[in-house]
Amino acid sequence: MIPAQFDYVRPTSVQEASQALAGDDDAKVIAGGQSLLPLLRLRLTYPTLLVDVGRLSELQGVHDRGDHVFIGAAVTHDEVVRSGVIRDACPLVALAAATVADPAVRHRGTFGGSLAHADPAGDLPAVALALDAILVTSEREIPASEFFVDYLESAMHPGEILVGIKVPKLGPGWGFHYEKFHRTAQAWAIVGVAAAVRRSNGSIAEARIGLTNMGSVPVRARETEARLRDLDLGEAVRQACAHAAEDTSPPSDLHAQADYRRHLAQVLTHRAVRAAAGSP
């Protein structure tokens, strides 16, 4: 229940934060702290220094920038859920954020923090991946497809700070759904499916599917995406979704075995795609 000792700084700019991090290999970034505090309390991590970026102005705000929405890394899940801009332009982000943990955690936890934490069981990495979001750091822009490197490991190197996320607007005709499967309301997803589907003349023109907790990183259900292209809604969709778990390597753990996760991925992908396509 009691964290080990560490130092703490609250820099006033991204540059200052980067410098603070660069000087200490065992420093960690904290924003809302909702992923980090549980690890600190259980002494599963021993940072020497916490660099608090939660109040940096560069990391705040949701901005409509024409072809994309820029979401500050320190924008909380609650702000994401309530943002009119996000709900209009990239509702999948809001739908998934609304399922993260519980209201009190969503008041503190940040969109950027969830992505930087790179937990494949988190709900938002799969969404960022499905939407081909671009993660803007203090140094560069990293496509979501390259950001998640391994379990709890992102492409960012020490000293690099996530500043915000560019979420492309997908334009008209797209529908969205996040299907989360968990045993109790506040439990982590056993499997989650983030689906974006563009319908055209009663068939699926294009689909993007991100899978939560189906490997050491969030993954795209590429085979299913390909098979769904130009498919009429109906039994064929189910067949296409039966390929959702291909090329995944889900974990076997206390909450589910890998074969069950594969099965769930198929069932839930079908449900997510149908819901995103507006089909009851």
Binding site: M1, R183, A185, A187, A256, L264
Partner: protein, 793 residues
């Protein structure tokens, strides 16, 4: 010294001289007296207690399931800032004694030595091996990491069946069998000989973690001679007695206080290592010490519940009539026998026949040691296990005979006109009406309509199937007659004590030996006393949970508080009234036989002359004119020992929707009609039923303590041990029938465990019922989506 004028005092203190309207408090949905402090954050939890010079204790715990301790070095920890002391188990070896087991159930029982802090061998992950004492929580936590311990690993013993084989490694030198216990009535062989139907099933009661919301905490202080301990315990009286017995500190030098306690459910019915060690630390350091567990520490080290393998066989006639039931249990004791560890499965021994009539019954239980946290009482303790196996097997019998499961129950249960009824297990059920509770439940549930919907979904091949589950239960509670407990080798009696003290102003102080931790005694006891003495409900205060205030008590567990403790208070009221009657007769110059009591006033029959109880109390206080030989006080004590258990019963019905594609179960509706006899406070009763149902559902669908192959607890945090939230449960429909108990003057039966006992089989029966057409006849609890899905493959 001037004379006291009773009338003047009466006026000043607003003592009523006219009786108030009869209140009829019993039966009223009074809002609780306890709530105000709990709702405003003025509660006194043990961890809230702050004493000058307080030191903070943390325990280092074994990361190994089974190992020999070869070295413990606390020196580095001692050197850290703020650290006052650090000790290994060996430092306490001479004085710590062995944690008590109060229920040596059989002649062959093995009760291994159980040092509060291990110093030779550890036998479960979480067992304390060292401790630090520091000036702050944070420093104590840091210092823990500086302690070095070397272990020589020994093989873990995790599976009960394997543990009993000759080749298994041993948990203790004496072997892995803790005890065997057998019980039987009637000719069981005859019942099974040529039986037209035999149901033979094995069920697993998974291990559960009770998880009271308040983690355990202990504060202990000393003046150099005597000790005061605050503990988050259900049993301050038993704890005091056993702390004395364990440590040799004289009992009269120990005061135990259970302040506000945040739930127990049996988990705080224990004498814990931490309590003993905090007492010893306070003695050794001469300073107040505090220990508060973290939740993940608690999941490892608060005793667990359930964990039995149940083999149940039913012999029945072709029409569904039960001939006999045979039960063979393996019960996981864990690594040691704690307070009532071995007795828990035996509390179920008399319950596997449930509400049904039969000619023969046979029960056997083997207690098994494993290298896991010891098990002990958890809400229902033995009775939920029995009810589960029985009610599941009854459904199997119905399925075998292609009968409606309710029909089989009706055929076999004790009819209401047959009470009192002595069961095959030898208990005499004093009252009950299973027909009435069932009829009410069926009507509320809409059983027939749901069956029709089920048939329709089956016809349509709906991926979401509907299942209906029944549980018609009874339980023995109100623990209990001391003689019966003695015959079962229990180490204590089952009596309870109550005191009623009339204060000079006419207010009433009630002291109860039954220490509440959420049950609402302060409210319910006030209602009982208000009616009995004819005083306003507001004029009663209830004291409990402090051995210096409540000198005698057997504490709170086994749904006993109202049935035993409440009746002790009622009897004390009767004694007060009897004394007041004599005083009234003396004052009013008549014979006590001419006095009648009504609504708080003692009247001379046929006249308007009367004295209120408040007037008489003041007269007793002034003591100017008492009858010869009468003590100047209107107080009374009562200790009562009931002659029988009480037997609540009821019918619970559950409808579930099972998603056959994912395996997920959703409770669609839940109806409970319970008969807990006469009800003192319907609000409290309903609350107890709600909470009980939720915990029973949690066993059916969500909770399981899981150890891995090395004996590590995988569910050591709330993130992994899944408790249902509001979002995971439906609203329960609850109602009552009221068949008064005949074994006590109020006709009450007890309600603390009923919901938990009834609900688990109702839910699992529903899940299995949903999937019968797919050939499913059992799913291991908790019925997780994955288990349901696998059952369908």
């Amino acid at each position: 010294m001037s004379e006291i004028d009773p009338a003047a005092i009466a006026e000043q203190a607003d003592v009523p001289t006219e009786p108030k309207q009869a209140s009829h408090e019993v039966g009223r949905a009074r809002r609780r007296k306890e709530d105000a402090r709990l709702l405003t954050g003025r509660t006194q939890w043990t961890d809230n207690i702050q004493l000058p010079g307080m030191l903070y204790v943390q325990f280092l715990r074994s990361p190994m399931a089974h190992a020999r301790i070869t070295r413990v070095d606390v020196e580095a920890a001692r050197q850290l800032p703020g650290v006052v002391a650090a000790f290994s188990g060996r430092d306490f070896a001479a004085e710590q004694g062995s944690l008590p087991c109060a229920w040596p159930v059989s002649e062959d029982i093995v009760i291994p030595d159980h040092p509060p802090m291990a110093y030779e061998e550890v036998r479960y992950v979480g067992e304390a091996v060292a401790c630090v004492v520091a000036t702050s929580r944070y420093q104590a936590a840091d210092a823990l990491e500086a302690i070095e311990v070397d272990y020589e690993p020994l093989p873990a013993v995790l599976d009960m069946n394997e543990a009993l084989t000759g080749t298994s490694p041993k948990v203790h030198d004496q072997g892995n069998q803790a005890f065997t216990w057998k019980f039987g009535q009637g000719d069981i062989d005859e019942a099974f000989r040529d039986a037209p139907v035999v149901i033979d099933r094995t069920y697993v009661q998974q291990r559960l973690i009770p998880t009271a919301m308040e983690p355990r905490a202990v504060v202990c202080t000393t003046d150099g001679q005597s000790f005061t301990m605050w503990s988050a315990t259900q049993i301050p009286h038993i704890l005091r007695f056993l702390l004395a017995a364990t440590t040799g500190i004289p009992e009269h030098m120990i005061r135990v206080i259970a302040p506000d306690v945040g739930g127990g459910f049996g988990s705080k019915l224990q004498v814990t290592a931490e309590e003993v060690l905090c007492l010893l630390l306070a003695r050794r350091l001469g300073k107040p010490v505090k220990w508060t567990e973290s939740r993940s520490e608690g999941n490892l080290t608060v005793h667990h519940g359930r964990d039995q393998i149940q083999h149940i066989m039913i012999a029945a006639e072709g029409d569904g009539r039960i001939r006999g039931i045979k039960v063979d249990l393996l019960a996981d004791m864990g690594a040691y026998l704690m307070l009532v560890t071995p007795g828990v499965p035996l509390l179920g021994a008399f319950m596997y026949n449930g509400i049904y009539k039969m000619d023969a019954y046979d029960f056997a239980c083997t207690g098994v040691f494993t290298t896991k946290m010891p098990t002990d009482a958890y809400r229902g303790a033995g009775r939920p296990e029995a009810t589960y196996a029985l009610e599941r097997a009854i459904d199997e019998l119905a399925h075998e005979l292609k009968l409606d499961p309710m029909q089989v129950r009706r055929l076999n249960w004790i009819k209401h006109e047959e009470f009192p009824y002595t069961t095959i297990a030898g208990l005499t059920y004093d009252s009950g009406n299973y027909e009435a509770a069932t009829d009410r439940a069926m009507a509320l549930f809409g059983y027939d309509k749901l069956r029709a919907e089920q048939a329709d979904r089956r016809d349509r091949g709906d991926p979401v199937q509907l299942g209906l589950g029944i549980s018609t239960y009874t339980e023995m509670c109100g623990l209990a007659p001391s003689r019966v407990l003695g015959s079962l080798s229990y180490g204590a009696g089952g009596w309870e004590h109550g005191s009623v003290r009339m204060l000079p102003t006419g207010k009433v102080e009630v002291v109860t030996g039954s220490s509440a931790h959420g049950q609402g005694h302060e409210t319910a006891w006030s209602q009982i006393v208000a009616d009995a003495l004819g005083v306003p409900y507001e004029d009663v205060s209830v004291l409990h949970g402090d051995t210096a205030i409540s000198h005698k008590g057997m504490d709170t567990y086994g749904s006993r508080s109202l049935v035993v403790g409440g009746m002790a208070v009622l009897q004390a009221c009767e004694k007060v009234k009897e004394k007041a009657r004599r005083l009234a007769a003396h004052t009013l110059e008549c014979s006590p036989d001419d006095i009648e009591f009504s609504q708080g006033a003692f009247k001379v029959k046929g006249t308007s002359q009367q004295k209120t109880i408040q007037e008489l109390t003041l007269a007793a206080f002034a003591a100017h004119d008492l009858p010869d030989g009468m003590e100047p006080r209107l107080d009374a004590d009562a200790t009562i020992d009931p002659e029988n258990f009480s037997y609540p019963h009821g019918t619970h019905l559950c409808a579930v929707e099972v998603d056959t594609e994912t395996g997920q179960t959703k409770i669609r509706s839940y109806v409970a009609v319970d008969d807990v006899g006469r009800v003192v406070n319907p609000l409290i009763v309903e609350g107890q039923v709600h909470g009980g149902i939720a915990q029973g559902i949690a066993q059916a669908l969500f909770e399981e303590a899981v150890y891995d192959a090395e004996g590590n607890l995988l569910t050591s945090t709330m993130a992994d041990y899944l408790l249902p939230s509001a979002a995971d449960l439906p609203t329960f429909v609850t109602d009552r029938t009221e068949t008064p108990a005949t074994s006590n003057p109020l006709g009450v039966k007890g309600v603390g465990e009923a919901g938990t006992i009834a609900s688990t089989p109702a839910v699992v029966n529903a899940v299995v019922d949903a999937l019968r057409p797919q050939g499913v006849h059992d799913i291991q609890m908790p019925c997780t989506p994955e288990r349901v899905w696998r059952a369908l493959q």
